[in-house]
């Protein structure tokens, strides 16, 4: 009882709102243009840094204070990651922006590229200055061709304005940035697969260690960060780390874009102050569509565990809040499912995705993802027995933790969480050979 009361007080005291940092130009006219970005103070931070020759360590400290964590899903503290790059390395160093978003439900980087590309570019220039990198790449998901073309133009505009190239703004600092277009491989969102892809190979992840900070593109020190992470940097440098932190909650500093898709009235990107209650974001997205009831939510993309409605309804959206209910922020790719959703069908589609996208390098993932898909497909076709449920769990557990990269773990996550929370629905489907939904 006390728990319930405490939770209500906590929700009432929560005054989190939508707040645009990465998407702050999105409501302006011609949001993606360099002119628009400069009209809100864009590129002023890199000017100030170069003019005053600000110590990179001071900037890293500011980013550490901000609490910014990798927005691609891993949630690793950005300031710490950047300090791994060897500063005194004598040779080319690379930084890479990972815009290869292809995990189902993920579509935030696309809007940053469409509506605020120059903030991303300025974030990368600042990153290059801090890590002393000379060359950067933005690796863009293959299926968003128009955004790739528009980003190429944004780079051109930044170069013409003197923010890219040799001797930027007369400072003696050189940085060149290029756009790279993927061509339809989810695995390339994994940072070492992405590096292989930039080298012109199949996107198969590398063993770690060595980590990219010591052995990345062409064996050179390389940093890889997500689009949203880089796009947050200019704002943090402008307003200070503490101000960014204050938008969120302890351990989850700042704002985060949640891409809401599926059964809501208004699917789309919502940049929230971390710590916002789930029910508030659901309301912002227009609520569950067609006046139906909520059944389940995948909070951060299929590599984060599904959560039933009654549990997520009282959760807050931040790293600790979602960890408390057994899930995770992931990339903020929130997939909402209403009461009509057949969980067997949903899991079948997700399992097919991981089977199709496994790079084939590690046996447990290559064979296991196919095995998992075939079992779920068997259930869906009414040809399974109850023993198949245990087999499904068993196979999934044997993929998890036994592969070079996290795709294996990601493939196991939906299986284990769907069966954990919706076991009776799976059992009923098997007994009756069809959905009872």
């Amino acid at each position: 009882m006390n728990d319930v009361v405490d939770k209500n007080i906590q929700l009432e005291n929560n005054n989190k709102q939508l707040f645009n940092i990465c998407l702050r130009t999105s409501s302006l006219k011609n949001p993606g243009s360099i002119k628009t970005y400069q009209s809100i103070g864009g590129y002023e931070q890199i000017k100030r840094i170069l003019k005053n020759n600000i110590d990179p360590q001071q900037l890293i400290d500011e980013i550490k204070i901000s609490g910014l964590r990798g927005r691609g899903g891993a949630g690793f503290p950005t300031g710490v990651k950047w300090s791994f790059m060897p500063r005194d390395y004598d040779g080319t160093k690379y930084i890479v922006c990972n815009s290869d978003e292809g995990e189902p439900g993920t579509f935030k980087d696309r809007d940053i590229i469409r509506y605020n590309p120059h903030q991303l570019i300025e974030g990368m220039i600042i990153g290059a200055y801090i890590m002393n990198a000379q060359v950067g790449f933005n690796y863009i998901h293959g299926e968003i061709w128009e955004e790739y073309v528009s980003f190429e133009k944004a780079i051109e505009d930044a170069r013409k304005a003197g923010f890219l190239g040799n001797n930027i703004l007369g400072s003696g600092f050189d940085f060149e940035l290029h756009a790279v277009h993927g061509y339809g491989a989810y695995i390339c969102g994994e940072e070492t697969a992405l590096i292989e892809s930039i080298e012109g190979k199949k996107g198969q992840p590398r063993y770690k260690p060595p980590f990219p900070a010591t052995y990345g593109i062409y064996g050179k020190p390389t940093n890889v960060n997500n689009t949203e992470t880089y796009a947050s940097i200019p704002w943090i440098i402008e307003h200070g780390g503490q101000e960014f932190m204050n938008h969120g909650v302890p351990n989850s500093g700042g704002t985060k874009i949640f891409s809401v898709s599926g059964h809501v009235e208004k699917p789309g990107n919502y940049e929230i102050q971390l710590g916002m209650p789930f029910r508030q974001l659901l309301a912002e997205a227009g609520g569950v569509w067609k006046n139906r009831r909520l059944k389940a939510v995948i909070p951060g993309g299929p590599s984060t565990p599904v959560v039933p409605a009654n549990i997520i309804m009282d959760a807050t959206l931040d790293y600790d809040g979602l960890a408390q209910i057994g899930s995770s922020v992931g990339a903020g790719s929130m997939i909402v499912m209403d009461e009509s959703t057949c969980m067997v069908q949903a899991l079948r589609r997700l399992s097919y995705f991981f089977y199709e996208e496994s790079c084939g390098q590690c046996t447990p993932c290559r064979e296991g993802t196919g095995w998992v898909y075939r079992i779920v497909d068997r259930i869906f076709k009414g040809q399974a027995t109850l023993a198949d449920l245990d087999l499904l769990t068993d196979v999934s557990k044997k993929i998890s933790g036994r592969t070079i990269c996290a795709l294996g773990d990601a493939a196991a996550t939906p299986v284990l969480s769907f069966i954990k929370h919706f076991r009776s629905e799976f059992e009923n489907f098997i007994k009756h050979g069809k959905s009872l939904n």
């Binding site: 299926e143 012109g200 699917p267 997939i335």
Partner: protein, 156 residues
Amino acid sequence: MNLKLKKLIDKELKKYPSDKKQSAVIAALAIMQNDRGWLSKEDISEVALYLDMPEIAVLEVATFYNMFDLKSVGKYKLSICTNISCMLRQADHIVNHLKEKLQIDFNEVTKDGKFCLKESECMGACGGAPLLTVNNQKMHENLNIDKVDQLLKELK
């Protein structure tokens, strides 16, 4: 490979060190495919020759990345996403309509060589589900039956 294509590939090569031509292989294959509709064995060989790569290394890339086609896909390749966010917003209705209207299944080409239908994985635009792309480039979002019919009419 004509001069126009070479120029486009050269532009991509400029992004990488001069001894790392292989880095441009995905871009070079995409440029070839845009020009020719799909990648033949001869196209693979030409790219290998131009980038000083073994043919097998180019073929590996062409077979690994889903957006490359090693068989004819007709004049218009319609790639429709059926992944979860699209599935929840009834992509299956669109798929069934297209299959019926074009009288083809996935991975088939219409008799007149005009359309090919591909089932696609997530395109990273789920806020606009259901959606499809035409020839890997133009994306059409928030599809319904009327929009699909209109699109088929416009693709001459």
